[in-house]
Amino acid sequence: MTELFIRLMRKPQGFVGVVLLALIAAACLLGPALAPYAPEKIDFLGRFRAPGWQNWLGADQFGRDILSRLMVGARSTVPLAFIATFVGSAAGAIIGVGSAYLGGRTDEAIMRTNDAVMAIPGLLMALLLVSTLGNGAGNAVIAIAVAFAPGMARVTRSAALNVRNQDYVKAAIARGEGARWIIFREMLPNVMAPIVIESTIRVSFAVMLFATLSFLGVGAQPPASEWGLMVADARQYMHQAPWGLIAPSAAIALTAIAFNLVGDGLRDALNPKDER
């Protein structure tokens, strides 16, 4: 574990990714304490104030401090994307390992159906689910998790197929272990590496998808300072205050880049052979 971390930090991209992630985690944990203003504090004299010493990143149409809103908004953006990815990955991983364990025709049937479900683009699937379940951050999380599961199932299954043919799995079957034991105790721990890599990269998609749902008005609801919502708000005033648009956009992009970098870095650190 420590060795892996050292190898991750040695590459410039891994290092930058980890540092960015640490900053984002700090914003999620300490954001409200560190923010210079309250996120809802309205200041009519400071409407559309340009970035400066009073508001470092400027102020929005109500004179609310954009930096404070971003720092507090980190909480309603990143952890939710994280949870959605975690739930979706866990469900997908269990389907994938289960399918590989069952093998043969059952595996074929499960994977064909899984591929068919993947024909529905993630955003479309999430929109359909949210439109049925009702708008809101919680339902958006469920929708993203469901949209992610088939992709994860596919990745996990291809890794699990190799594990399925290993001697320790065959031994467990010969011992007469039950399906649940073999799937959760024998196979799943041995496909964790690809699952972790894929999920890390997927968190960046989840952040973007969650922000997109909020942007379209079906995810987080006002007055939350979720980042996608902030972009949607700022669009109407982009002539007067382009900084209102740029700041949350940059926050989303940085978060997505951070998870992408760490994911790629982890992949490199786990496969030392691959030089690319």
């Binding site: 064909r112 068919a116 479900v117 529905i120 683009p121 929109l127 049925t132 996608g228 997505a256």
Partner: protein, 315 residues
């Protein structure tokens, strides 16, 4: 590529469309405890609710509701829009044609830009050009469409006034105007696709350049240009077919946001309007048509790939 393989691939496509239709129907009509209530909202009178339940046949068992819907859909009848009282099918297909115009233009632009950039990045691996190209690619995949779209509109339409910010003009009626209105959305979509295709193209080219047949071609004494264009590029280009097909899936999702932002009356926007106005037949039709489009494109991409790459033998 044998006929039997093609037939199996087509059957898989049909299966995909059937699974998707079940899923779409289940999510939109079966999953809600009372679809009529959730369509009409809290304030609907009991009579209106009863009428809608009867119209949708909500009292019937789920499989019967699905069978009835599927039979109509099979004959091209997607029902009557609850918002406009017009047949949904023709409206959605017209919207799809506008979306396809956007999608195809974006793919053409992407290919023209991403393929050369990816190859150049591979040839200059580790140097400044490569790092720059990779950096842009990273940025491209890390920005959601709505951010890219908004920032581009801010820059090109509002600040520099080069292009119209929103709206759609049919290129058949006014070619110049149509192109100008399409430019911003196409640019947005391409920017994200370019990032994706370029990354793939780079790693494919690197793989191919390391292969034995390229070494053999070089050892034969062929000029570097022939090696690159006749031997390396041909093979590196193959997977791009698959990647473009997979990106169509992304494209169809991303198009929802992009059409919404640029006010293009395509299928994504039609679907968004249907969702916000809770127009059930339109939601079902839009979702099904989008997913079916993806399934069909993917199938033909697979076939094209098998046709182009004769080394692959599918049993």
């Amino acid at each position: 590529m044998t006929l039997a393989w093609c037939a199996r691939r087509l059957m898989l496509m049909v299966y995909t469309v059937i699974v998707v239709s079940m899923l779409v129907f289940a999510i939109t009509q079966i999953l809600p405890a009372d679809a009529a209530q959730s369509l009409l909202g809290e304030n609907a009178t009991p009579e209106v609710l009863a009428a809608l339940r009867a119209r949708l046949g909500l009292g019937d068992p789920a499989w019967l509701q699905y069978a009835r819907w599927a039979r109509h859909v099979f004959t091209g009848d997607f029902g009557i829009s609850m918002r406009t009282s017009l047949p949904v099918g023709p409206e959605m297909l017209a919207a799809l044609s506008r979306s396809l115009l956007l999608a195809v233009s974006a793919i053409l632009v992407t290919l023209a830009v991403a393929v050369p950039l990816g190859v150049v990045a591979a040839l200059r691996q580790g140097r400044l050009t490569d790092t720059g190209v990779s950096l842009i690619a990273y940025l491209g995949v890390s920005l959601p469409e709505f951010v890219t779209a908004t920032l581009l509109a801010l820059l090109l339409a509002d600040t520099w006034h080069w292009l119209p910010a929103t709206g759609y003009v049919s290129p058949l009626e006014d070619f110049g105007g149509g192109i100008r209105h399409l430019a911003l959305p196409v640019l947005t979509v391409s920017l994200i696709l370019v990032a994706h295709v370029m990354r793939m193209m780079r790693s494919e080219t690197l793989d191919v350049l390391k292969s034995d047949y390229i070494r053999a071609a070089r050892l034969k004494g062929l000029p570097e240009r022939t090696v690159l264009f006749r031997h390396a590029l041909r093979n590196a280009l193959l997977p791009v077919v698959t990647i473009i097909a997979l990106d169509v899936g992304y494209l169809l999702g991303g198009i929802i946001v992009i059409e919404e932002i640029f006010a293009i009356p395509g299928i994504g926007r039609a679907l968004m309007v249907a969702i916000t106005t809770r127009d059930l037949p339109s939601i079902q039709a839009g979702a099904l048509i989008m997913a079916a489009t993806y399934a069909v494109t993917n199938t033909f991409a697979d076939m094209a790939y098998a046709f182009l790459d004769r080394r692959i033998r599918y049993d």
